[in-house]
Amino acid sequence: MFSRAYKTAITAPPLLWVMVFLLAPYGLLFCYSFWSVSPSQTIVHTWTLDNYRELFRVNVYLQTLFRSMWIAARVTIFSLLLGYPLAYYLSFYRGAKKDVFYQLVIIPLWVSYLVRAYAWKTILGSDGVLNTLLQYLHITKHPLEFLLYSPVAVVLTLTHIYTPFAFLPIYASLEHVPRNLVEASHDLGASPLQTFWRVIFPLSVPGVLAGATFAFVLSFGDFLAPLLLGGPSGIMTSNIVVSLFGAAYNWPLGAAISFCMLLLVLALLLLSEQMEKKWSFR
């Protein structure tokens, strides 16, 4: 129905833009990871595997990588634990306020990340709201130091930020479960709990996978929360990259780490996509 000219007109501009501003940059990232930096702080365009060797040679990179993954894993688990029952409750909620509740859940999503991370900083510090509250109520005598500038703070903050991210796809998949399946299950003798595990949950797995992927990938690559709240023990891979592009001027090494992160993320996305397909019964 659409002419060749029409199709070219709608395809060419975005294609070109994406090639220039997405494909080329990612390609450049790849290239940079093979280059090196000269002592005089210029980029030397010779091809070498040194950067990658460095990653595996120096412990701190791998250690940070595992710590980042462990933090991301915890964030994912907590986000799912918080987000799934909420999504379930909302999806099966029969009432006029269902709409309002849904909005209430997605609002925090779009409220500035920085604002929310900052809020936690003011809450968790030794002079922060939480500590002074606990002392005011005579629950503790001294401030709890571990609350801020630790992986705990990072996990807490990132969970706060990514729980709505996990919620959204789970809610969507639960909404798509035909309610007559629930009735059929009851009709066949299954109690509500049995119905949940045998019918509702299996059908919501694609949503859970999507939510988990979002939460994991985005918290894995986060650098702001660790910078604000992580302290020395809460450094994540992205922070190392940031410093390599900043004070510790070594773009190629930073590019190598970034490219590894990119590969890891892509691998996770593909894996998740495969699993989602297997669990999608449409």
Partner: protein, 273 residues
């Protein structure tokens, strides 16, 4: 009884706890923006508007707000100009590399911003382009094309194709049909996309972090302050940001006939759903 399995008694409590968890930090922030004694400490004392007064006298902040607004509008223009055709292309054409194209367009949505930001930084470095608000605009625009594309694509799915066919049948050419029929039908999607892009651009840090020149955007200005020391003035500006985000997102929600994204979002974002 109706088959409402959500009758377990602990579920509403759980929901309340989660809502509390999501909102208490923000509420605390707002409350303490009126706290004379600083960002922490319980209970809040000396309720005052001083911090807000300080905020409104703070030129650097307002300059950065202006910068952010300029960037947001420019990014909106870019994202929509390229995102709308991209959605149409995904909907209506087939060409070798289409799958790669779709994945590429949607990748910045799920990739940590740092990767996109760094890659663009390297591009500008190699092309010898100085970092400035322009580079930030290019960064936001590129990253947010995905938002425009997904919203418009969803709108296309809901659109009645026969309308375009009718238009062509009645003698309008493709260009006319595009402006008279296609775009008006997509009006809602475009507005929602614009609203979302605007909000996300105003808050964007990860990509902007690497592409910034001399002029700060609002989030980066706040960020800089945070490194130096925190005062409730930051609470004040944060509270204002919260109110505006609230308005924006409620408007966006109301405009939309809300249909949650279909399951398998990752598959849609990255792959072949």
């Amino acid at each position: 009884m109706s088959a409402a399995p959500g009758t377990s008694r602990w579920l509403p409590w759980h929901a309340a706890v989660v809502f509390g968890f999501l909102y208490l930090p923000i509420v605390t922030l707002i409350v303490y923006s009126f706290n004379g004694a600083g960002v922490g400490g319980f209970p809040p004392r000396n309720l005052t508007l001083d911090w807000y007064r300080m905020l409104f006298a703070d030129d650097a902040i307002w300059e950065s707000v202006l910068n952010s607004l300029v960037v947001a509008f420019a990014a909106m223009a870019i994202s929509l100009s390229f995102g709308i055709p991209a959605a149409l292309a995904l909907d209506r054409t087939n060409f070798p590399g289409k799958t790669l194209f779709r994945r590429l367009v949607l990748l910045p949505l799920i990739l940590p911003g740092i990767i996109t930001g760094l890659s663009l930084l390297m591009l500008f470095r190699e092309a010898d382009v100085k970092l400035s608000l322009v580079t930030i605009v290019l960064g936001h625009g590129t990253a947010l094309i995905s938002v425009a594309t997904t919203e418009v694509f969803a709108g296309l799915q809901k659109m009645d194709r026969a309308q375009e066919e009718a238009s062509l049948d009645l003698g309008a050419n493709y260009w006319q049909t595009f402006w008279r029929i296609t775009i008006p039908n997509l009006r809602l999607s475009i507005i929602c996309a614009a609203l979302l892009i605007f909000t996300l651009s105003m808050d964007e840090i990860a990509v902007s972090f690497f592409l910034i020149g001399r002029d700060n955007t609002l989030p980066l200005e706040i960020w800089g302050r945070l490194r130096r020391g925190i005062t409730p003035e930051i609470n004040a500006i944060s509270s204002i940001i919260f109110v505006f985000s609230l308005i924006a997102i409620i408007t966006w929600y109301r405009l939309r006939i809300v249909s949650p994204a279909a399951p398998g979002v990752v598959a849609e974002v990255v792959g072949t759903a």
